[in-house]
């Protein structure tokens, strides 16, 4: 549609010919300086194409004379960050775990380092909150298979559990059923015995039948009273914490096939300072034994 440009009576200015609900738009000329600013910004844009990365091509993009690269900037800043972290790492290297924990500055630093390292490396199994899951220990409560002191945690981090590391912590729950070490009926009785240990009602006759077998087979790791032996990583069977579940069939399954997970050794992968920070982080979040 051809727009009819007419002249507005009041101002004597031409209109654009647009009309909305009887309102017509004046076509006042632009101020000259505004045009100059606009031309200037066009020149600026062209100059920007020349000096900065601008145009994508099929195989790459125009690099620009300044050779600017955001990735390079990030890399530079990360290097600077490493330098900064170096100072913190140096402090961690010389301080003992107890010193780190009791010094508010180092403690805060460890919390920061620990949180990010935990998220990257540990959360996969233990969960981002450290609460674990079936087969993966909860790091937030006060139950520790291999001890919950700062040194114990640090050592576990370094060598891992059944990790293949020469000093790895190793405990082995035998597969009493699968390897036919105990008859199936006895495994059923033993399940009742373990249920009884944790303070729940159980079949008294079965418990009585299983008691001598427990004393013979199980006390080495789980202790005469079933409270576990931390030195060998033997779980406490009397508390409310169950790595593989507390139901009868789950207990039965564990006695029958004796599962045990693997915790990697981190000593080669994380720097000693990072492991220290991580130990302090985990210890603090567990309430600190």
């Amino acid at each position: 549609m051809a727009l009819e440009r007419e002249t507005d009576e009041v101002t004597g200015v031409e209109t654009t010919g647009h009309e909305w609900d009887g309102i017509r738009e004046l076509d006042n000329p632009l101020p000259r300086w505004w045009l100059w600013v606009w031309y200037g910004s066009i020149v600026w844009a062209i100059a920007y194409w020349v000096v900065m990365p601008a145009w994508p091509g099929l195989t790459g993009y125009t690099k620009g004379l300044l050779n600017h690269s955001d990735r390079a900037d990030v890399a530079r800043e990360l290097t600077a960050l490493e330098m900064q972290r170096g100072e913190g790492a140096a402090m961690l290297r010389t301080a003992s775990l107890q010193q780190i924990e009791s010094d508010p500055k180092l403690q805060a630093y460890s919390q920061q380092v620990g949180q990010s390292v935990f998220g990257d490396n540990c959360a996969t199994c233990h969960g981002i909150g450290g609460t674990g899951g079936k087969g993966y220990p909860n790091l937030r409560d006060d139950v520790w298979l291999w001890g919950g002191s700062l040194e114990d945690i640090e050592h576990t981090l370094k060598v891992g559990i059944r990790s293949g590391h020469p000093d790895a912590r190793i405990s082995q729950m035998p597969a009493f059923g699968r390897d036919e070490m105990l008859p199936p009926a006895m495994i059923n009785d033993m399940t009742e015995y373990v249920v009884k240990l944790s303070g729940r009602p159980a079949d008294a006759a079965a418990v009585a039948r299983a008691a001598p077998v427990f004393a013979e087979q199980c006390v080495a790791c789980h202790g005469a009273d079933g409270r576990g032996v931390v030195a060998v990583g033997g779980p406490d069977l009397t508390d409310s914490e169950w790595l593989y579940g507390s139901d009868r069939e789950l207990i039965h399954e564990q006695i029958h096939s004796g599962k045990g997970g693997v915790m990697p050794a981190w000593s080669g992968r994380l720097s000693p300072e990072t492991i220290k920070a991580l130990a302090v982080y985990i210890h603090a979040n567990a309430g600190g034994q």
């Binding site: 101002t11 409560d141 139950v143 210890h283 603090a284």
Partner: protein
């Protein structure tokens, strides 16, 4: 709704735009893409409103340049500057008031109150802000004073601009621009003192040791002051500033605006001494109102977007009227309603109290009141609680439940304080700090700082406890106390 008098300019046919109007850059230039700026040469005027403007110019500029130098003793190593925006320390100091970043809502309140005050003033008295108090107006006025000093008044300036370059013209122009740049630099310079300790900065600035932001801000404000007040002037108001366009929503027929009393002035025309005034208007078409106008408009065309309500044409016209022996007030602060009333032969009444101004005043009172209340009611200490969300709770080997919290304690006093932390709301709950089992939880918060601390709350096994129990943390240091509500979660009853 009373009908408004048609206060627009006299209808002109498009083709009949006068050559004079075209030369003044008023009318359209057919087929032209742009309109070059017409240099405006405001003539010096004396009178009531000009005096008010001089007073306000001195007053506002004095506030701007002097404020950073007012000293104010504060305890410790806090800065001894009365008004300071401390970005590095993340504090705003205003005499005895000290604001933290999290109190930015007080600035928000001030901004909203300022906007409402502007609405109210505009609804009552038109664009007084633009004509008297706007920095663009004030600095332009100051720059014109300098211009007048070097080049003379309107006619001399127009002559000078029309001359070929000579030594006389060169030194006047150079002197003017150098003085302008000096003022601009002083303006940018004054600005940066609001953000750093002024006496320190004025030393470090000259030896290149000021903050980079100081140099950048100073350069930027120097440039904008020089360009806006020296070169662009009315262009800023007409093309850059949104306020002239917004004002249409604030103004109504009862707002006082600079008005040419058409009923008294028309028909206009030259007047010889001794001629009768019968049958003609009081306007003698002397153009004094036009030559003094900083916006370069003719107020006799009626209310215009360009008009900043500065009243200089009122002074100019009154001056002429008193010389020709007519009563003053041909151009005056008046309302459209009054003009319309007089046109119908009724008595004009000024109505400052009307629904619009009542709403603005109430909103202004409310927002100012809330802001003041928020400012006065700020506590000396603040406590904020952030619950651990993963895990929400941890069950211990004996069935006890433990929740983790991060507390943030703000100490707004000027002394370092040790806060005792307590928790209540859950029967038998114990409060502890990771790594410090069995000790009372105490936090040292330095003066004027925030400190964060992680704590655990451990509750004994209790099958009857609700899965979520309300509780509260209390941080106490002497007579200062802060509280924060939270909840203690313990999930379902013990699954054993």
């Amino acid at each position: 709704m009373p009908t408004l008098i048609d206060n627009t300019r006299k209808p002109k046919a498009g083709a009949a735009v006068s050559a004079a109007a075209r030369a003044k850059g008023k009318g359209p230039v057919a087929g032209q893409l742009y309109k070059p700026r017409q240099q405006i040469y405001p003539k010096l005027v004396h009178g009531r409103w000009r005096t008010v403007k001089w007073a306000l110019l001195i007053f506002t500029l004095a506030i701007y340049y002097i404020t950073p130098w007012i000293r104010w003793t504060r305890p410790g190593d806090l800065p001894d500057q009365a008004v300071l925006v401390d970005f590095t320390g993340r504090r705003f100091y205003f005499f005895d008031i000290q604001l933290w970043p999290q109190e930015v809502y007080i600035f928000t309140g001030l901004m909203v109150a300022g906007a409402l005050a502007l609405f109210l003033v505009t609804a009552l008295f038109g664009r007084l802000w633009c004509g008297y108090a706007c920095p663009q107006t004030v600095w332009t006025d100051l720059y014109i004073v300098v211009e007048r000093l070097f080049e003379g008044d309107r006619n001399a300036r127009m002559r000078l601009d029309g001359q070929a370059l000579s030594f006389d013209k060169a030194w006047r122009k150079t002197g003017k621009h150098l003085t302008w740049l000096g003022i601009a630099f002083g303006t940018g310079g004054a600005w940066i003192f609001y953000f750093h300790d002024a006496p320190t900065l004025i030393r470090t600035f000259w030896i290149g040791q000021g903050a980079i932001t100081a140099y950048v801000s100073c350069a930027l404000l120097t440039a904008t002051t020089y360009v806006f007040a020296g070169w662009m002037r009315e262009q800023v108001c007409i093309y850059m500033c949104p306020w002239p366009r917004i004002q249409g929503a604030m103004l109504d027929q009862h707002s006082l605006q600079v008005t040419y009393l058409r009923d008294r002035g028309e028909p206009r025309g030259a007047h010889k001494r001794g001629q009768t005034w019968e049958g003609r208007g009081d306007c003698i078409d002397c153009h004094q109102c036009v030559v003094v106008c900083p916006m370069g408009i003719d107020i006799r065309d009626g209310s215009q977007m360009e008009c900043i309500n500065c009243g200089l044409c009122v002074d100019a016209c009154d001056d002429i009227l008193s010389r020709i022996g007519r009563p003053t007030g041909l151009i005056a602060y008046d309302t459209d309603a009054a003009v319309a009333a007089r046109a119908c032969g009724q008595k004009a009444v000024y109505k400052p109290i009307r629904s619009r101004t009542i709403y603005y005043a109430l909103a202004l009172a409310l927002v100012s009141g809330l802001t003041l209340w928020a400012l006065i009611g700020r506590p000396d200490a603040d406590l904020h609680v952030i619950r651990d969300r993963n895990p929400t709770f941890v069950r211990m080997h004996d069935g006890a439940v433990r929740d983790g919290y991060t507390l943030k304690i703000a100490n707004r006093t000027f002394q370092d304080r040790t806060f005792d932390i307590a928790f209540d709301g859950v029967a038998g709950a114990r409060l502890s700090q990771p790594g410090h089992p069995g000790q009372k939880v105490q936090v040292l918060v330095p003066a004027d700082q925030v400190e964060a601390v992680r704590v655990f709350v451990t509750a004994p096994p209790d099958a009857d406890r609700a899965s979520s129990v309300p509780g509260r943390f209390i941080a106490r240091s002497g007579e200062i106390q802060a509280e924060a509500k939270t909840v203690f979660l313990s999930g379902a009853a013990n699954p054993r």
